[in-house]
């Protein structure tokens, strides 16, 4: 068994004497006897470190990860290359093991990282204010709903069906609590149905939620779609993929009041879905309603530049039931990973990576649409992910590709009954031309075999 404690029998004796009790059990007598467990927990005995390692390695070996397969899965999380310096820096004790920076004099490192991160996210989204991060993308969307309700006093959200299904579901879950209605607007040709959106937005609408690129990979004209929200006094909330913001026009330049999203593509590994982080940027007008931590610049008593948690009067530990959000522990280390990745890419590299994604995606889209039995689900412009229709059962085709070591993509039927034949394919800088060509071949063979009824 492993123990991380140090108390020797002698230590214990001295400590018990100082307390004035004869055994540690005496200290637990404040728990009524009927409520003391009185038996060992029904869990295995503790194990030596080497055995714990083997046990967990054996579990890990039963997963088909992106090292074991060529991964074209996306749907919000992407198999990007995380540079080695991200691991080296985030594993430093000084970043890994402190608590939230409640004592700023000894937390300048973490606070400055937050300030740098806020600057970077503000640059990416084109909005002046960023927080230091939230849990992940979908709950950030829900927090934007809560903010919009507070800002407008209205209780109706209009949501594009192009918004990530997890974001839509999470917003509905939260809205059931704070009491708001969620109205969905459909898609047309892969893009948010502009006429239906205009019809759905009215004077009771607190916020309009769009995503670009949307869940089907299509780049939306946010400015045009958001005009109605502006006229009706609703907030325009835009979810975006940070990795596309080197090439795509930032939400802040298209009228967004809030730009947010899933931060995983920036410096965070896949981790079967978390931990990652959500980013949340807004106009100056919303700064005092923002959820989460925000670092601010200030000075110490001798005039030295320093950083502190700013605007803490929004937060639960000060304001309690009047707080703008309940969030406390969030994702500081994941935000650091993002900042280091962004610094490593740098101004030029970030742009180049965005262009690389667009070029390879365009190639893959054309190549796969040329496969017999495969066609485009929509022809709207895309950046790093696109949707196909297969003339064969998607699940069976995916199984055949998996046998060739390829995770071919995300079956859209999981979330969109109307796209039961849909497949969403994601590209990162790790997916080479050769791998894309292999996918085309595997997909072609799988679709053909299914159509001909060849046994697996």
């Amino acid at each position: 068994m492993t123990r991380y404690t140090s108390a020797t029998p002698d230590d214990r004796r001295e400590m018990l004497d100082a307390i004035g009790v004869s055994s540690a059990a005496e200290l637990f007598e404040q728990i009524p006897e009927a409520l003391r467990l009185g038996r060992p927990l029904a869990l295995p005995e503790g194990m030596p470190e080497a055995e714990v390692f083997e046990r967990l390695a054996a579990l890990a070996a039963r997963n088909a990860d992106a090292e074991a397969e060529v991964c074209f899965l996306g749907a919000g999380m992407y198999d990007h290359y995380v540079p080695a310096i991200v691991d080296a820096i985030t594993q430093r004790s000084e970043f890994l093991t402190p608590y939230t920076p409640y004592q700023p004099e000894i937390s300048q490192g973490g606070l400055q990282v937050m300030f740098e991160f806020q600057t970077a996210m503000s640059e990416l989204t084109g909005l002046p204010v960023s927080n230091a991060g939230l849990y992940e993308g979908p709950s950030s969307v829900a927090s934007a709903g809560y903010l919009a309700m507070g800002a407008t006093g209205r209780r109706r959200f209009v949501v594009s069906r192009g918004l990530h299904p997890h974001s839509r579901e999470t917003l509905v879950t939260y809205a059931a609590g704070f009491g708001a209605e969620v109205v969905e607007v459909g898609l047309d040709g892969g893009l948010t149905d502009a006429a239906a959106l205009a019809a759905a937005v009215d004077g009771e609408t607190a916020a309009v939620f769009l995503q670009s690129p949307n869940f089907l990979g299509a780049v939306e004209d946010v400015e045009a779609l958001g005009a109605g929200a502006k006229e009706q006094g609703a907030l325009l909330v835009v979810a975006c993929d940070p990795m596309t913001l080197g090439v795509l026009r930032p939400p802040g330049e298209q009228g967004a009041d809030i730009a947010l999203g899933e931060g995983q593509p920036l410096g965070n590994r896949l981790d079967f879905g978390g931990p990652s982080f959500g980013f949340f940027c807004a106009t100056e007008e919303q700064i005092r309603r923002m959820p989460g931590r925000i670092a601010g610049e200030t000075e110490d008593v001798d005039g030295r530049r320093g950083f502190v948690l700013a605007l803490q009067t929004r937060e639960q530990h000060i304001r309690r039931e009047k707080a703008t959000n309940n969030i406390c522990t969030a994702q500081a280390l994941n935000a650091l990973a993002a900042m280091v990745h962004l610094a490593w890419l740098g101004r030029q590299g970030f742009r180049e990576l965005g262009e690389l994604l667009v070029q390879r995606t365009a190639y893959a889209r054309k190549r796969l649409a040329g496969v017999e039995g495969v066609e485009l689900l929509h022809e709207a412009p895309v950046a790093r992910e696109f949707a196909l229709r297969l003339q064969a059962p998607v699940a069976a085709v995916l199984d055949r590709c998996a046998e060739r070591g390829i995770a071919a993509g995300y079956p859209l039927g999981r979330d969109y009954p109307e796209f039961e034949d849909g497949l969403l394919v994601a590209i990162t800088e790790r997916r080479t031309k050769a791998q894309i060509d292999d996918l085309a071949e595997a997909l072609g063979a799988a679709v053909a075999a299914e159509r001909e009824g060849v046994a697996v």
């Binding site: 123990r3 404690t5 108390a7 400590m15 200290l27 404040q30 409520l35 927990l41 503790g46 890990a60 990860d65 899965l73 540079p83 691991d87 820096i89 000084e94 402190p98 939230t100 004592q103 004099e105 000894i106 937390s107 490192g109 973490g110 300030f115 740098e116 204010v129 992940e136 999470t170 879950t173 609590g177 009491g179 080197g246 026009r249 930032p250 590994r269 981790d271 079967f272 879905g273 931990p275 670092a295 601010g296 610049e297 200030t298 000075e299 110490d300 950083f307 605007l311 009047k322 707080a323 969030i327 406390c328 500081a332 994941n334 740098g346 390879r360 190639y363 998996a402 995770a407 031309k433």
Partner: protein, 507 residues
């Protein structure tokens, strides 16, 4: 006091943006290898960005140096004693980092077909089973991302439970000593907080509880409680409290922030709680990361189970040749729905499961016992000498894993506030305890040493407090102007809120 600037104080803080110089870079990217077309042929010009965002331009050696230097401006758990009350700053085993980084965990896509993610789903199921046993409640959802997210989940479950019975209750009771997240979560979940008073032993004031139940008859949805509570004491009346709340038709919610006191000793489910959240970043050794990531799984009773978030990890018994298999169950018609993307903070689950395997059931019980022993020992040390006189314990009784002192006499007699003492502790190389919480105790100082500290560390901390008070008796100005040795000294926090500068202005 004569002072010399330390080298770190002399070094002016510069952001990475201020170290940027056009033309420098770190990353080299792969060639596209595909026939390229002009961007404007692929995406309409009005949807393209005109100028790249102004990210820093800097080479790799300087990025590494920048963040290493920044890291040295942090105090951290690996550098010293961190008795931050309610935060359970226990050792973060490096084994857990190693297993979380295995490619089978770290590079597993969350949308992978469950049939090809069996190891991950089994791990989640095993963690659910372990937490169920520790909490004494039959069902677990790992989805919530942190403690406050677990609270929100618990309140939404409560809402769904009442709604399913045709009731729309509006009030949630919480003691005046509760964590700030409790009332904040209550408001977010669309309920109203009703405060319950604390008695002279630090527990719930039973007469006030009865009165509040009477005043709000038929309208109380839930009571949120921490036990041991934020004063570090166990509420002996918990069985009666549970009976009262259940009798009034409400649910009983357990804020698991203080679970480190009772693992393997007493279980919230046995105390009568319906819903419990567990902070994996407290009791189960996930590193705090300077403010996350964490995870806040919830354990619930049978009557709450139908409403648990979607999807749930389930085990399906063997059909045919193989063993049992694991799956994500979305078919939960009464579920409150999703609380977040995908399945939860899986990397945190790996670390916490490794921790549970390492210690085992016996080790968890021993950890709680040692945490309580350490807290009571430090409390006894601080009851001696000057500290005992100037910084008395708020509630005189044995504590559990933490205790609360009051700096009221110190402030009145010496003119130094709890904040001054905390700042002076920084010069002694300690992270101060939690200050000014709970609100009930004037000039509060909340101390949680955890089980992983040595007796020597506890003694050194007690001696530092003694020394600081002695110093203040001679000259209170020393503490009032502290700290002196930290990278920066006391910061103007008011200015950061009045005129917030929250990003670097770039040309």
């Amino acid at each position: 006091m004569a002072l010399t600037e330390t080298p770190m104080q002399r070094e002016a803080a510069k952001t990475i943006f201020e170290k940027s110089k056009p033309g420098r870079r770190a990353a080299a990217l792969p060639a596209s290898e595909v026939p390229e077309r002009p961007l404007s042929e692929l995406i309409p010009a009005n949807l393209l960005r005109s100028e790249p965002p102004q990210l820093p331009e800097i080479a790799e050696p300087e990025i590494v140096r920048h963040y290493n230097r920044l890291s040295r401006r942090n105090f951290d758990l690996d550098s010293g004693f961190y008795p931050l009350g309610s935060c359970t700053m226990k050792h973060n085993p490096r084994l857990n980092e190693r297993v979380a980084a295995l490619p089978g965990h770290a590079r597993l896509h969350p949308a992978q077909d469950p049939r090809r993610a069996q190891g991950a789903l089994e791990l989640m199921w095993l963690l659910q089973e372990s937490l169920s046993e520790i909490c004494g409640l039959p069902h677990v959802s790992l989805q919530p991302s942190a403690g406050s997210h677990g609270e929100l989940a618990g309140l939404l479950l409560t809402r769904a439970y009442h709604a399913d019975r045709g009731e729309a209750r509006t009030k949630v009771l919480a003691p005046d000593t509760s964590h700030g997240t409790n009332p904040a979560s209550v408001t977010m979940a669309g309920f109203e907080v009703v405060k319950v008073a604390t008695n002279d032993r630090g527990g719930v004031e039973m007469d006030d509880l009865r009165a509040k139940l009477e005043e709000n008859q038929g309208d109380v949805a839930c009571l949120m409680l921490t036990n041991p509570n934020t004063l570090g004491v166990f509420d002996e009346n918990i069985a009666e409290i549970a009976a009262l709340i259940h009798g009034a038709g409400g649910t009983l919610y357990y804020d698991g922030a203080n679970l480190n006191a009772v693992m393997g000793q007493s279980r919230p489910g046995d105390m009568g709680f319906d819903i419990v959240h567990v902070n994996l970043h407290k009791s189960f050794s996930q590193p705090h990361g300077g403010g996350g990531p964490g995870a806040g799984p919830i354990a619930v009773s049978d009557r709450i189970e139908p409403y648990l978030p979607r999807p749930q990890v389930v085990r399906r018994e063997a059909s045919g040749d193989g063993g049992p298999s694991f799956d994500l169950d979305f078919d939960r018609p009464k579920s409150i729905g999703r609380l977040r993307g995908f399945q939860g903070n899986f990397g945190v689950f790996v670390r916490s499961y490794a921790y549970i395997l390492s210690l085992g059931g016996d080790g968890l019980a021993e950890a709680s016992e040692t945490a309580v022993l350490n807290a009571n020992y430090l409390k006894a040390r601080l009851a001696e000498g000057r500290a005992g006189e100037r910084l008395p314990i708020a509630f005189e009784r044995h504590c559990m894993h933490e205790f609360v002192l009051s700096g009221k006499p110190m402030k009145r007699q010496l003119g130094i506030a709890t904040l001054d003492l905390a700042k002076r502790l920084l010069d002694f190389g300690f992270h101060p305890p939690t200050v000014y919480f709970p609100l009930l105790v004037e000039e509060a100082l909340m101390v949680e040493p955890t089980e992983t500290e040595t007796k020597e560390s506890l003694d050194a901390f007690a001696e530092a407090i003694e020394q600081i008070i002695a110093e203040a008796e001679a000259d209170p100005e020393v503490a009032k102007s502290a700290p002196y040795t930290t990278p920066v000294r006391r910061l103007d926090e008011v200015r950061a809120t009045r005129r917030p500068v929250v990003r670097q202005p770039l040309a």
